[in-house]
Symmetry: D4
Subunit: 252 residues, 8 copies
């Protein structure tokens, strides 16, 4: 936001000095920094404003659209560009278009990392089961691109509570903990009762029947009586990675 | 069921011997043992057939109706009669009508125990919070009336997992464990992963918002990956107490 | 659990005798018995702790992952390993990797039975319709692997109540009854009113429209007024088989 | 409908004969028989058109409004007027206003029966529990006012299936059967599998938790595999009584 | 049911005369008329008992299972056998196995009609849109196989209410009306307000978004204020056809 | 919006002329016209911006809070102030505080009309039943305060479609039609198929059981195939009245 | 509607003059203008009656059926025919059958525009994201075929509120605004608070997890406190385009 | 957690030195620090372990129970004790029992603050409407008791987006932002797109109809595309205040 206020102040200063007419200023007020691709408006300013470059949800877009948006973000100076929920074809197209792009098949992600901020803070990510892997890794990639160090423990479960033992030291030293779980989501309550750092619950759609596509895990996390727990949407690895990085890095 | 088959055999024997005509037998086949009060048919045979006397749900019945049904069950020879979800007025009416009736205000229960079976088996009942008390005690009373020994641990929580420590010995020695929990229901998964006996999850309507009146706890218990866990309906202390007693007593 | 306490006692004894330093003990307390495969933590101890070896849900895992987990469990000394919801490819991979593996196509299950406990107790499993078969057989295989004898009656229905006749003797002699039904789930109420043993309701996603993917059968079973009935999740044959075997075998 | 076509034909005949101008006819086409009370349009013609006089849902109306509507229907020549879901105050107001009105406290109904059609056909109404009484009696009163004979069996249950025995002869001889049940609604499936006449399922909001205010009974009835079963809305005694009477009386 | 009582009476008579021993009679009481195929119990008696031969839901069964069940029903003397929700492969298999089988591609139905009862009564079936066709024709075929005459009007809509005009005469003369509609289901309310015969609402899953797979049409029909309307499950053409035929034929 | 742009232009002009410093301008940009009451920010500008003065939802506010907000709006120059969902106490408090306030008991509304715009356009409001009255009148009052002429027809129903006759001329001449209906909401489809003006569906929570508190009417309206129909929230008379007035008055 | 009344008046006049017999008139009253294709009744009159020609929902119809309906509408004199939700095969079939047909691949629409009304009024359509494109363009095509001018702004978002700047002038000058948004639907509230013209919310099924297939956007729009906002069904571009055009063109 | 590990290490050291026998150590392992009141286990250790003293949910507990728990926490050395959802009677009882207790009527909270940590970090809390006040203040009190500075802006709305202007500076300087909103919850998306600090969405049950008791606001927040946003349960001011304070204070 600071940037926005500064720009406004600069604009008003130019009007005061007669360098810009009121009508031109009005026009400029209407064209804040984004780039129009016709079918998409790319917010090249978000990184400055929010500390997190815009991510691209590939779902519902053609590979060509995704490539065009990603390229525009890179050309707009984004430190990194992350494309999520990208099928094989889209990932290949991005990698063909942007030479230093990397991908993670399981997480269905492809990204370009031009200038990732210096690493600060530690996020510990813990999943209940192996099947939560794709969502966990989407969160991990996002958090790393935003400049945090991420420690991962998969398949910790709750039905075998002793498995939590070796994870405890990493929970203790984390600046933020992300708990990834489907089905009953009980791991979030358990970890939420042990951690002293803020905990982000990341419910997944893993499970069938009464798991209701992640709704049960989501609701269970939301009504957990553990202190210091907040939740993102079902399978929203991107959202969990973003807020976890913001928390772990602290105020800048 | 044994009783039913025996009665049928006896009836057929009487027909064979000419002691009963086919038409009379047909008539008797239609009048199996219940007692008709006009507005209710009291199943005086259930105890023999199922090992559990019929309970009376007071909700939606007048105190007079409840008293009449309870009296009929007692007169029909029930070992015990348990009235659940009974308001103060109904409890008072039953106690006035049946001199040896006892009540539990919190559990909203009133009962007469004429001949409880000799105690066999141990049920350990564990609740997540103090507010689960009414449901827990309904389950406890039912299980005790059916002839089991019940050990109770209230307010064990999950956000403070170490509280579970002193409960473990009673979980180990139980023939059946009942876990009573609202909100996220996570205690059931935790206990389900520790107990070797069958575990009955008893979700409660405790909690607000995303607890959705117990639906979240219910769903979480149903999709727990803990082995050996089955679930009864929301706030159904009667049901949990019944099956827990049947399990703990074993085949008879 | 007994095992866990015994291990703790042994560890503390070693510390007392100076055989183990407190720091080493602390370390060991954190590494309770599981085997880390990187993407999965295999709980090789569950059988000792709970009397039921860990099962593997194949859904959401690659055939390679399933094979690795199954092999680790077998090598960890599991009496049996059951893989559920396994497609043809996964079943073939497991059979190729573990020579004595068996499979059931309809139930989408593949398993290795190294040392099944001596059979004890009888479970009677009753289904409402032919389409409930896959779920019923998953439950049956699980219960048999845990060392119970299982009697199966399929397609008993409720709309033709007389079909229940020949099933009654097996319901009478069971230590636990499992009722498998989709649609209205009414068979559970009917059987629940006849059986004297504990009854486990196993709702299935059979049916369309108002069957709501098994939710109607689940809810109907949960609010049945039959005594001695508890329920597992929709299509959760594994869960039903596990608790039914625990109940039928009784306390060990 | 016959009446409607006849009126149209008569109107067109009058135009042909010059007795009515086209504009007047157009006007008359727009003012088919109802009576306007300002806040309500009373359909005094429904009885002719549909064989069932309009009923008045008292809920959401003041006693004065109910009395005005009921009086208008009576004055419009209705054979009977039934007011449902009427509190004590409304019932008293109707009885004060219409001298020959009768009421049923449990069913919260008050009605005037000026000329009930000659009785034809038999409806057997069966309820699962005593608490279903209010809804059952609303259905019964409605069906009787429409000119059918109603046989009632309350508290038949399903968990004690033998209680159904004495009800069977009345199910056999009925022209239509109404099954009133809350909770799991299983009685509808059971009766639906036994009756040869059409069966109307009438789900009630009796039960708590997973009964979900009648939704479970409703869904269970809708996906019953019993042949010849259709369903009305939750607690809709009026609707069940109406269609049961129409079926039982047959085409007229 | 008459048949069932008569059989019981005959059996008891044989016991009385010493022709049958009580134990044999007990055995016979347990083996009422059905035929066991191993995976399915075919109810060859339903036609006698309920006036409607058992139908076969092909969904969830292999073509071989469907053929075996259908053949058993035919051999058991069924007047007709209707297989619903049958894919092309299953329909072909049935037609190959049973030479006089007919099929309807749109309705996904295949059937054998050996001896349909003499036609009695008229059912008028009205659909809101062309897309409701498959469900409508399943209902029509069922009703015709049960011995009623069916009149069909498709695509009547509600947004163009004048289209209802030419349908009115057939609604007037029907003994039962079936209204087939998805989306808002409003046609049922409209027809329900015009017909004097009982109306069966048959909601379909036609529509997207807020149609919620037929749930909206179902709920709308259930809370219609039209008199004389009952409802079957979503897309349940079989159920609608069955009860419509029972109503239209009247008591037999 | 015009006002907003004009203010911006004026502000920029003042900066250009040196009458306002950039910092002051920045400050003014942050304090657009609203009035801060501490617990509420009253938007005194909305009328200019949107052509509709802010309304006050009394629910969840104390009478004192409501009076303070209403007074601030009046003092801010609002042409009219409408308070909705106001209980008797709140209505009395507003009337005591603002001498020319009027109220409508049924609609639970109280309002002050200082300068209503000259009437332009006609809105016809049609309700399905008498119980929809409160919601209808909230919509009517709102639309009249915004300067439209409203014609009201209550209790038109759908089960007696001929009642729609006398309403047709007012539907024909309307600039916008509002259909108020609970239960099945079918009246919206019917009117939507007849009107040539835009139709606003206003679902109400009238009805019980499957009416699901208005959700069924809402969904039915949303998936109606009638052209030219849009919908507001359940019981949202205020919203319907607002958009109907905007439509009927046309662009200004 | 005017047409309908005029036709009725003409018919009655013919009867008056003896040119038409009452019976013939009755017949004609029953055959209002539609064309019967057997499986579909094409409403060739809707354009006259409602100002909007009937659109064809291709979903659930074969290409042949769609072509037949479209051809009948064209032959019936429709100014334009719009086929929505049409797959590639159906679009090709329509283009082959009707030479001047056009298509929009993304919007899955194909149409023939024979005589579009002279353009009147401006509709501004704003979408939250690129993925809302297909629904937006369905709405745009419909509105243009009904004779309005449409201005489109895609991918305006809400998380970057400054992007709304350049859109404001087009919002200001619109006669109706359509906001197309999935996920949280917040753009509708934001625009609804800025526009002075009526706003139509068009929720889309874009988004996953808690977006619940558009239900969240729909509900959020329905309970927005923005004045002058009404909503159509999820993904219902056709509905939004229709009412937006009706509003923008004003009363005719 | 540090405390827990330290205690374990000390215990093991005592065993090593022979000061404690293994059996005693085992016993002590089972009695971690909590205080048993019979009906409740008070976790006097949580403050050390998690930096947040246990709060007491008064709902479902008697005033006496609440007082006993609060007193035990205070006696256990809690820095502060917060009782939420406390009615007037409970608040009075706590104030009578604990002399320095304070209360907030609107927020239904009562608390004792013995030693609040030195203030660190700033939380900005923004609400959409006046009716969100009770939930906002519960969050504020909690965050202040945990040692943060809280800035409050109420009634910011979204329909009047310019009201957000004066709030921006406080959003910019916050270490964590809490957005409190019911209905459409759109304020969270808007603020989430502007803030650079982590944002906690706190949905409230404010609103009627489609607001669905807060579910719509919750879902909308969960599927917002704003970066850096996580959500707590509906009306869960306590949870939001806790995590906001943890985030704002940073790692300690």
């Amino acid at each position: 936001m600071a940037g926005l206020r500064d720009e406004l102040r600069a604009l008003l200063g130019a009007v005061e000095k007669g360098e810009t007419s009121p009508d031109d200023a009005l026009e400029q007020l209407s064209s804040l920094p984004y780039r129009d691709l016709g079918f998409a408006r790319v917010d090249t300013h978000r990184e400055l404003r929010q500390g997190a470059p815009e991510a691209v949800l590939a779902e519902g877009k053609t590979p060509e659209q995704v490539v065009a948006i990603a390229r525009a973000l890179v050309e707009g100076g984004a430190g990194s560009v992350l494309v999520t929920r990208a099928g094989a074809e889209t990932r290949a197209a991005v990698r063909a278009a942007l030479v230093d792009a990397e991908e993670h098949e399981l997480a269905r992600a492809v990204w370009v990392a031009r200038s990732v901020p210096e690493t600060r803070g530690v996020v510990t990510m813990v999943s209940a089961g192996t099947s939560d892997g794709p969502v966990l890794h989407e969160a991990r990639i996002r958090a790393e691109l935003l400049g945090t160090s991420v420690v991962v423990h998969e398949d910790v479960g709750v039905a075998g509570v002793h498995r939590l033992g070796p994870v405890l030291p990493d929970i203790e030293r984390a600046d933020c903990v992300v708990v990834v779980a489907g089905m009953d989501g009980a791991l979030a309550s358990l970890v939420g009762g042990l951690a002293s750092a803020p905990v982000i619950g990341l419910p997944t759609s893993v499970g069938y029947g009464s798991a209701q596509g992640g709704q049960t895990a989501l609701n269970a996390m939301l009504c957990s009586c553990a202190a210091g727990l907040a939740v993102v949407g079902i399978d929203d690895g991107l959202g969990a990675g973003t807020i976890a990085a913001l928390i772990a890095r602290g105020r800048e």
